[in-house]
Symmetry: C2
Subunit: 327 residues, 2 copies
Amino acid sequence: MNCGAFQDRKVLITGGLGFIGSNLARRLVDQGAEVTLVDSLLPPCGGNLFNIRGLENRLRVEVLDIRQALQQGVLASDVDYVFNLAGLSSHLDSMTDPAMDLDINCAAQLSLLEAARQTSPDAKIVFASTRQIYGKPDHLPVDEDHPIRPIDVNGIHKAAGESYHLLYHRVYGLRAVALRLTNTYGPRMRVKDARQTFLGVWIGQVLQGRPFELWGGEQLRDFTYVDDVVDALMLAAVEPAVDGGAFNLSGEPVVSLRGLADLLVEASGGSYEVCAFPPERRLIDIGDYYADDRRFRALTGWTPNVPLVAGLERTLGYYRDELANYL
Amino acid sequence: MNCGAFQDRKVLITGGLGFIGSNLARRLVDQGAEVTLVDSLLPPCGGNLFNIRGLENRLRVEVLDIRQALQQGVLASDVDYVFNLAGLSSHLDSMTDPAMDLDINCAAQLSLLEAARQTSPDAKIVFASTRQIYGKPDHLPVDEDHPIRPIDVNGIHKAAGESYHLLYHRVYGLRAVALRLTNTYGPRMRVKDARQTFLGVWIGQVLQGRPFELWGGEQLRDFTYVDDVVDALMLAAVEPAVDGGAFNLSGEPVVSLRGLADLLVEASGGSYEVCAFPPERRLIDIGDYYADDRRFRALTGWTPNVPLVAGLERTLGYYRDELANYL
C-alpha cells in the first residue's frame, strides 16, 4: 500500500532489526516516514544489523531493549505510529527459560503501554500477536472467536501481551490493534535455527546443500509472505475501524508440512529426511492450524498477494545471495 | 472433610498468612499435617500474623516472598501438598501498578512451578485461580468452557498463572489443579479495604458504625463461605480425577449486591449509601456473574454447606470480637 499516510510521520518499530520489522522499515522509509528502530539484538531474537543494509542513513537505530529505549525517550509525544514487533517467538525456548519469555513478552510490553498512555496517548499501536495463543484448534479454519487456550509458555505470554493492548484501548483509549500472525516467511527471516519458523531452518539447510528434517509431515499450516504482512500492518495502522480488535492473518494455500517440503525441494533442488516428532516438541505442538482472516479483510480490504510458490522462490532468491549474512 | 489424608503429610501453603491460607492451615493442623506457611506479608496482600493466633507452635512460618522461600528450600522433595494461594487480587491495584501484579501473579508462579518440577515432581499443587479470568460473562451461569477474556491486568495475570499450572501438568506431569474462586468471605478476610472483596470493606464499615457504600447494586454475584472453600481445596488435593483441570466454585444463593447489602444490614444493624459506580472501576467491572460448579461437585462430591445468611452471621460474629486486629 502507498496512500501517502506515512509521509513525514514519526514511526517507532520495536524489534525493528528483526525479520518483519526490517521489511516494514524499508517500506516505511520508502514512503517518507521518519523511522526509529528499537532492537535489543538479543541472540534468541531475530535482530540482525544486516537486515537494514543500505538504509543506515535513512532511519535511526537504537540498540537497546524496550525499557532502556523508553528511558531514552523514544516514545515521545509526537510519535504517530508504533509497530510493536519486539518479542520472543520460540516455543521451545519459552519452556526452557520461561522467565526470559515473561520478561520480554510481558514485562517489556507493559512498560511500553504504560509509557504510551502517559506520553503518547494519541499514537496508534499495532501489536504483532500470534496464532500460538489459540493452542490446539477445536475447529478449522480458526476464527477470532476460537477459545484462547495456549499450550506453551510463549503462547501464554503472547496472549497476555495481546490482552494488555486490548485492555489499554478499552480503559485508556489507546488506539491499539493486534494482528494474530501465522507462519510468516520471506527475505530477512531467521534461517540459522527454528526460532522463527521451521521453514527458516529448512531454507538454511537446503541452501547449504544439506537435507532438512521433516518432523511428522501431516500437520496443516498456512503461510503469509512477509510483504503481505507488511501490507497488513500498515493497513491496521491507518484504519480506525480495527482499533481495539484482534485479527487473524492467513495466506494461501493451506498445505501440509510434507506438501511444503515437496514445494521447497522442487524450488531449491534440495532434499529432506522424514523424522519422528521430537518428544519435547510433540508436547507443545498445536496439530493442524489454518486461519479464517475474513474479518480483517472486510475491515481493511487487505488481501495477500504473494502465493506460496512465488513467495518461496523469492525467499530462496534472497538467501542464495545473502545466506552468509544469516548464519 | 476429615479422611485422615493429611495426617503427618508435609504441606506447604503459599500466602499462608492470608485469609484463605490461614483458615486452611487451621484445618490441616487439626488433621495432623506438618504445615509450613510462606507469606511475604506485603501490605497489599492479605497476610496478617493475627490470622494464626494460637497456632504459632503447631506450624512453621516463613515470612518471605516465594522466590526467597524457594531458595531456603521450602519446596523440598518430601513435600506432599502445595496449596498455592499467594497472589494479588486487587483489580484496581493491578491497573495502577501492573508491574507488581506481574511480578507476584506471574513471575513468582513460574518460579514455584519450575522449582516443583525440579525438586518435588510428586507434590500435588492446588492453585487458587479466580472467576476474574472470564471477564464480562457471555452467559450465566458461567461454566468452565466460557471464553477466557479478562478485562483487567489482574485477570490477565491470573489467567496466565492458571495456564502455567495446567501446562506444567500436561508437559511435565505435575499433579496440578486450579480452582476458580468466586467471592470468598468469612473470618480472617481483609476488611480494612476492598482489596479482597467489597464485602470485606462493607463488614469493616458496619462494625465501625459507619454506613458502607453500595456502588450500583443490580449486579448479581455468588459467594462461597471460606470453610466451604477450604473443603474444596482439600478435596482437590486428594482427588486424582481433577488433576490437570480448572474448576469453578460457587455458592448459594445468587444475590444482587443490593440484596447482599440488605442481608448484611439486617444481620448487623448497620446501614448503607447507594452511590454511582466510580468511573475507574466501571471500566473494569465484569457485570453480573455467577458460576456453574457442577463439574467440581461431580468429581469430588463437594457441596457448599454454609448458606449466605449463616455465613454472614458467622463472619460478623468473628469481627465483632476481632475487628481491631484487622484495621
